[in-house]
Symmetry: C2
Subunit: 319 residues, 2 copies
């Protein structure tokens, strides 16, 4: 019945459709949904067609008409154009989980947040790195402590992680595709607001997006935060945040998957990021509550706005 | 008495201090305050010292201690660092008017809005071009009409308007210093949200900020909006917005100071932008209501985020 759409009772599986069947949907969303009792994978919406063992549709309205029990969607399409999809989903009474970043521009992200606000539907704008097991323990450690310094090193080889994916060099993405994950952790762990003081962005001479970025920020307490993003990192790959307080140093490594205090590894949950995201989505649906924090995306825009640009050697996929 | 701070009754002049005594304060704020019965110019806060015929102080707390009747401030310092000043003003029970743009970064602007929200104080984030006399009539003309196209040409010579001011070439400003005025009009006149589809930013090879920008946007109804910003305009200077609906064209010229419908000039109020801003500030104080719209600033950040960069010939102040 229409009146129950989007109001699945706790305990009853939430019928969910996945919109946009690409790499992230197949690698993360579909297996996670399959492994979570709270959800039932019911349909896909895919322009290119998808064959995932459930009915597939070209549009959200077609899916809703054929599958009236579906009460939630996961939006896994590319960032551009998500506003229209999310509006359609909300208008059809669906709760919405959206991949990071929620949109291609801040104006579109704000419009998405505004569309959800007051719609009576749940919008969960996810930041998967915030669901890494070290993030909440790090936040607790930071709470009430006087910090001296925070440093971030987020360095990976784009050739390994995005082989041949030219879209990564479209204007506005580049090294901030992984970098926004670090910013999503920082904005969760440190007291808000985190503000950008200065930035330098290095662009390969043959590309329209930065391959490296150095940011200087300050947290709400005035603590300096130094950020080093690199997309041209050979050898060991690094996704680390180090937080110093007096003689103590807390270190998140492996993108928040591991945590050391004064070089001693701390026990953490072994639950993965996406299982935690979907557990949270179920909680939000139960509570009829949205969760939308655009602060990581805002910091990226600020880095582009204030960033001093330098030109680097040409990038070569085979270089 | 402390209990009346920020709650001046209508009819009783609002004692106001001006924070940051530079060109914009002297050219616009001081004469406007002098000409508005609702306000009484009571003090200045100026690090460099100011001699405007009223007591001057180095800090807001010093000013408040010496002038307990002051219930409002106008923040005319440069964008960077306004968050700390506005927090201080709000904490001392002052209502706040702030020059455009409200901050140097979006994160800081959001933090300013958050600080004001729930403080019980009034925050008025001004966009002076929105107070141009053609803006509200243009908004009314647009309302309920099907638009076909909007074009913006905002072209001025930086050598004339900012002679020798090197700060204009710091990263993140450039041609968007005037351009944001056009965006503040567009976001008021057209139905929200206005979204950026693509942008090209031209940087002089010797400068860190763009000297020209071309933006393609879409309004809430899908109407295409083409924007052409230029900071290297010799000869006639142009600040125009043309809105086409069927056979009709409405044209705002002179930055919104004049309006033509099908090439026939329309009657407009002759009141200036700053007198209107201060009249609005008095209204907001009477109503205990804030007015903060960051959408023009967000579009600027989006243009930097998505903008494709081109390199142009070196800029020469004497060129």
């Amino acid at each position: 019945m229409a009146s129950t759409v989007g109001n699945a009772a706790p305990g009853k599986p939430i019928a969910i459709a996945v919109v946009g069947i690409g790499k992230i949907a197949r690698d993360q969303h579909l297996p996670t949904i399959a492994g979570n009792d709270r959800f039932r994978f019911a349909a896909t919406v895919s322009l290119s067609g998808a064959n995932e063992g459930v009915p597939t549709f070209k549009t959200i309205p077609e899916m809703v008409a054929a599958c009236p029990d579906v009460s939630a969607v996961a939006i896994c399409t590319p960032p551009r154009g998500r506003l229209a999809l999310i509006r359609e989903a909300l208008a059809h009474g669906l709760d919405v989980l959206v991949e990071k970043p929620p949109a291609a521009t801040l104006s579109e992200a704000e419009a998405i947040a505004a569309a959800a606000s007051g719609s009576g539907r749940v919008l969960y704008a996810t930041w998967h790195s915030r669901a890494a097991p070290g993030v909440e323990p790090a936040r607790e450690w930071v709470s009430g402590r006087n910090l001296d310094k925070v440093t971030v090193a987020w360095k990976e080889d784009v050739r390994v992680w995005h082989p041949g994916q030219e879209w990564i060099w479209e204007p506005g993405i580049g090294v901030f595709d992984p970098g926004i994950n670090a910013l999503s952790i920082l904005t969760r762990v440190l007291p808000a607001p985190l503000l950008l003081d200065e930035a330098t962005l290095g662009f390969p001479e043959n590309k329209a997006a930065p391959i490296e970025a150095a940011l200087k920020l300050t947290d709400a307490a005035g603590v300096p935060v130094e950020v080093d993003f690199n997309f041209d990192q050979r050898g060991p790959q690094t996704w680390e945040i180090a937080i110093t307080s007096g003689d103590d140093t807390l270190r998140l490594t492996h993108g928040g998957g591991k945590m050391e205090l004064n070089a001693v590894e701390q026990p953490l949950s072994s639950e993965g990021e996406y299982p935690r995201l979907y557990a949270r989505f179920a909680e939000l649906i139960d509570a009829r509550q949205s969760e939308v924090d655009l602060s990581p995306f805002r910091l990226v825009a600020d880095a582009f706005l204030l960033g001093r640009r330098t030109t680097l050697a040409a990038f070569d996929w085979n270089g």
